[in-house]
Symmetry: D2
Subunit: 405 residues, 4 copies
Amino acid sequence: MSYRISPVSPEGARAVAVAESLIPALRERADAADRASRIEPQNYRDMQTSGLAAAFVPEELGGLGLRSIHDWILAIATLAKGDGSAAIAISMHLSATRGLAGVYRANAPGSAPHERAKSFLEKVAKGEVLICSTTTERGNDNLHPLTEAFAHADGWRINGTKHFVTMSPLATHINTNVRMRDGDGDHITNVLFPMATPGVRQHDNWDALGMRASGSQSISFDDCIVPVDALRKIGPWGQWSIAVLVNRTLANVPLVGAFLGLAEAAFDYALAHQRKAKGAADRAGVPNALAEMEILLATSQSILARMGEQLDAFMAQSRGGADCTWEQGHELMKDYQSAKWVVNRNAIQIVSQAMDLFGGGGFMAGNPLSRLYRDVRAGPFMQPHSPIDARDYVGRVLLQQFPER
Amino acid sequence: MSYRISPVSPEGARAVAVAESLIPALRERADAADRASRIEPQNYRDMQTSGLAAAFVPEELGGLGLRSIHDWILAIATLAKGDGSAAIAISMHLSATRGLAGVYRANAPGSAPHERAKSFLEKVAKGEVLICSTTTERGNDNLHPLTEAFAHADGWRINGTKHFVTMSPLATHINTNVRMRDGDGDHITNVLFPMATPGVRQHDNWDALGMRASGSQSISFDDCIVPVDALRKIGPWGQWSIAVLVNRTLANVPLVGAFLGLAEAAFDYALAHQRKAKGAADRAGVPNALAEMEILLATSQSILARMGEQLDAFMAQSRGGADCTWEQGHELMKDYQSAKWVVNRNAIQIVSQAMDLFGGGGFMAGNPLSRLYRDVRAGPFMQPHSPIDARDYVGRVLLQQFPER
Amino acid sequence: MSYRISPVSPEGARAVAVAESLIPALRERADAADRASRIEPQNYRDMQTSGLAAAFVPEELGGLGLRSIHDWILAIATLAKGDGSAAIAISMHLSATRGLAGVYRANAPGSAPHERAKSFLEKVAKGEVLICSTTTERGNDNLHPLTEAFAHADGWRINGTKHFVTMSPLATHINTNVRMRDGDGDHITNVLFPMATPGVRQHDNWDALGMRASGSQSISFDDCIVPVDALRKIGPWGQWSIAVLVNRTLANVPLVGAFLGLAEAAFDYALAHQRKAKGAADRAGVPNALAEMEILLATSQSILARMGEQLDAFMAQSRGGADCTWEQGHELMKDYQSAKWVVNRNAIQIVSQAMDLFGGGGFMAGNPLSRLYRDVRAGPFMQPHSPIDARDYVGRVLLQQFPER
Amino acid sequence: MSYRISPVSPEGARAVAVAESLIPALRERADAADRASRIEPQNYRDMQTSGLAAAFVPEELGGLGLRSIHDWILAIATLAKGDGSAAIAISMHLSATRGLAGVYRANAPGSAPHERAKSFLEKVAKGEVLICSTTTERGNDNLHPLTEAFAHADGWRINGTKHFVTMSPLATHINTNVRMRDGDGDHITNVLFPMATPGVRQHDNWDALGMRASGSQSISFDDCIVPVDALRKIGPWGQWSIAVLVNRTLANVPLVGAFLGLAEAAFDYALAHQRKAKGAADRAGVPNALAEMEILLATSQSILARMGEQLDAFMAQSRGGADCTWEQGHELMKDYQSAKWVVNRNAIQIVSQAMDLFGGGGFMAGNPLSRLYRDVRAGPFMQPHSPIDARDYVGRVLLQQFPER
């Protein structure tokens, strides 16, 4: 027995098996990519070839037909055992393709949205499309994007700069949120368009403590023109809306999975080392430390598995989020915050204790734990919410004083 | 949404609903029983009348037909919201009756064991039987009982003293472990016999920090004679065995549920208070503390629910534990330890923070939290293992150095 | 070596030695007083006879001549090893007498304040006076007393009710804060008057989780008349003032000492038990738990000793607080909050781990740890600030946004 | 007020002032040296020119005349605010020169040891000598050095390899422990000899997670010949001895100071940032996080200051450690372990929370916190003891089962 998470759907089982098969190759390339602070293209080719990048593409279009959020989380956790950067990068692509699969299924065959989504998903299945996603801007939270779309003769003209655009050096498309003002008001809108669009500028400025192979550079949009139907209104600018609450939760919970995966990798590595170490059990501190790590890991696995199960149930009961109420949206976000808090903190602690178990050797750059220790620190920064704001948010939801902004 | 646990079986849903219905009455009587350090008989009459005490009795014999360990845990957690003492007391009775239901089902109708179990279970359903259980002796762990059964012309003669015999002032029967030596070796055996047996002496010495209404007095056996078939060998004396590992885990995990229930009660009480308190949200510390409690609670609910699900899966896969290996037995015990560690510690912390939210009023004896704070402290003492030994045990299992004793 | 605190002044060394000598008697009476929820008069007679109750009385008036806050803290911690209730009770009396000694020294011999203080202090030295102190009212913080003094022909007429009036059943005098409005504004004033004043009503309603022998009943004032010079203005009602910041810190830091003393008692008790226990060192969890407790204790001793040293330095540099600025007042309060946070939390944890080291026996009411566990929980309630508000307060002072109220 | 540490001796005040003056230059060079994983020679020239490297050299020989261990700790903490690598590197040099100053003072002028030490210390004061120190070997603890000195016609022949030889690329001399077997037994001996000795080989292999500018490469000794009087016996090989207990504590406590300094730097940086940030106080999580950091910092400062005071007292009372007993040696080591545990853990937590307060920007390599986060992780590795073994050691000393090895 153990608290390790198992897939809950057959499609998920396939996706997780594929992810599992990719671990050795991802792991082998991780050190060099980390040192070079460069995204590793072969990882993404492997994820495309193996079908993982098409996990959410319906089976009839050549994908794995994944639907379960729980199993998506698990697939990301599995990939992160190989490489954390690759795991978070592909998760953002999966999030975007999951949305497209929803459009494909929700609309009648023959309708424009269905056919557009179908064509796009087929390209995903063929490995012709890789979508990077971002919501981050400097000094801004997700509700107040300053990148803006202005009405233009040929559609929309987009200007602004986004940060932390993970996987963008390899992406064929970018998915992001921009402000748009029209007669109906001031909106947050979602837009997906080709990276090759004139005016898209890659800054090649990713230089971080960890997740160095994630290619999370800045991207500027200088008068990028996108078609009139490329924009989709999500909710009012500067405010929480049900759609934003649901979407941010769905997109971000699998990222939490990556930090669980990093912790599992560190734990497995340290445990294997100690099982082979002479006299480990005679050193009282060794079983003690392993137990502390095991308890943290069991805790993380449990809360994240429960969150995944609940998200699947929520999607089933709310028609994919369509029937979600304002209160439910905040409850969802609150529960995601609890899982994020626990998993991220425990992951940092587990990796740190794993290093302790290696003595001075764990501090050497050549020890994989020294990379995991840096990668795992990315968890708390992920928005919403940072550890600075998470408790206040959760407490306000509990008091039923649901934040408007 | 929330991490609150839900039943996984229809019988469990019924048992939990019954438990839920008992909360108000249990809660109302809790303060007086606590102050008097007396078990409250009406609580047990209510549990018998409502069917809860017969939860594990098969439906055809008049019970609720419960089989799920997960739902047993949840039923105990639910009762503990009313009264922690009653919850742990009845859990021990349920454990004993679950064992009898297993015997009833495992043996063919007409066979002696089937018929004996049937008759006993029917009495349970009628509220004629209440079984207290104990394994504790002073200065001893569970593997080394010194209470001993000696061969005797009329069966067995039992001598010794047990402590922490919860619910014994009301029990009709006692279920305990005794040492027995015969030609095959030195054994731990299980024995169930009437409290009215000559030589059973109740010490009326229960005077503890918490769980004061649990009636956990000491019981002495002075030459108690029990029939020859009353003893059942479990495993070798002084050693872990598969049966002991499995039985102790199954019997004790639901007790952990009681501490979750106490924490839930404290959380609900504090949250309701703050929702009504003027200016709670303007006091930054209030949402902050509520969030800290919520995260602890979500964590506890998740790990305990997962443990319950895994136990149900284990029982299904191992034919009720019959096919369990030595390694699996220890893995089971290890995972129980993780759940126990997390839930007990979090429960103490949650109740403590709930008190903080009441200010000085939370420290007054009249505030229910002051009882919960004492009751919840019973968790760590429950064997196996205390917080002193749990980490060493878990670590040794991880190192695959499975403790023999 | 060890982090145990030592006296820094010769007078302190005497006071601490006296406190030390009282431990066995206090300890012997603690269980009975706790069970009866009654203050034990003999403890206070002993503290008077031994000179401890006159610790702050100048030597020429028959006292110990104590001046160091550091050593006051240590004396209270020492007493708490015997009985926590007695320690906090006498600390409030010491706080009031320390103030009187200040008046005596600050005014010229022959002046009215000098002579009044002298006469009072001589009575303290003779054991004729015992002063209880309180600031607490129901649902109120210390800045907003609703007990009020109204101008009256014979001085002032006082009405209101105070809670948590520790040691009041034995006190000859009461020291408290009341509101007073006059032409100059709305004030917090301090008043000291005989308990025998007509209109003083003792509620005999102390019934708490812990500190049950502290006699912390409620006291009502129904038209109590006090002389015109009995009132001393401290600062504006409803607002922090330098005087309130300084006085509350000075009066309350020694109370934190009591919780350190409880933790030390629990640690010493558990360590002595384990040193005698057979096979303690072979049970890996025992040294591990002792080390965790030792580290917590060392931490508490260090921060509280440093706080004491700093308070002594502050008193020397600021002419007893007279030269303190607004910023310094809040810095002082902030640093007290840090010490309180650390010592109170660690104390609860240390007592709890000490219980773990006793197994089930630690949960029995007869084990002193079961009383310590309840007594030590009183720490967080002490105002200002509860754990709910402490972090917000400390953070605001760090941001130099000094709270006005 | 604050818990910040202040010097306790005039010489210490001078050393700390010098350290303070070096902070800006150290800080300015830190990023480049970290990225290059290269020790920065100018830092050491500055420390020599400013007199810091001669802190322990008696004033009559041109040094600062420092004697207080407390102030040594504080000087290292101060330097670490500029650069952690430089702080730990120079501390090892200071440790060696402190030993020489002891020899100089303990022996009569004119005696060989006095004159040799004098000549050496004068060179230290002139900046002609820089001593690196190490005890570490791969897979070994400090009691079992395998680097060995063999008797040789010209003195001793040394063979072996040391790791983590901090500052060795710049050092003129190396101070280390080697095994030596003679007719009296098997010894740990201390040896100090020039880096220019034939057979000393620098591996230039320092590539670590943090402290990248510390030059902590490996050094091999291939038949290095040192004079017959270069070896000094410390104690038996493979066993704790009083001398080893005292020396390791004295040498290592100041290293703990470096981790306090890193935490102070991170705290100051985050606090300054938040004091300027718009709306920081309106974001409830900001004061909350600052308070959590402040409490951790106050705790660390308190325990380390107390440890320093106690070490000064110990040195005074034990004639520089000469009168130390076996029990006292272990008590000393135990108390060092407590301080190390608290300071290292808190430091990691403080730097981590400082990063949280910067949001995503704190994760960028250009933010100093991202270097501090890696540097501060070096603390737990320092021997003795790692976090794996510290609790077991402390617990055994408490149980008076003083480890022999």
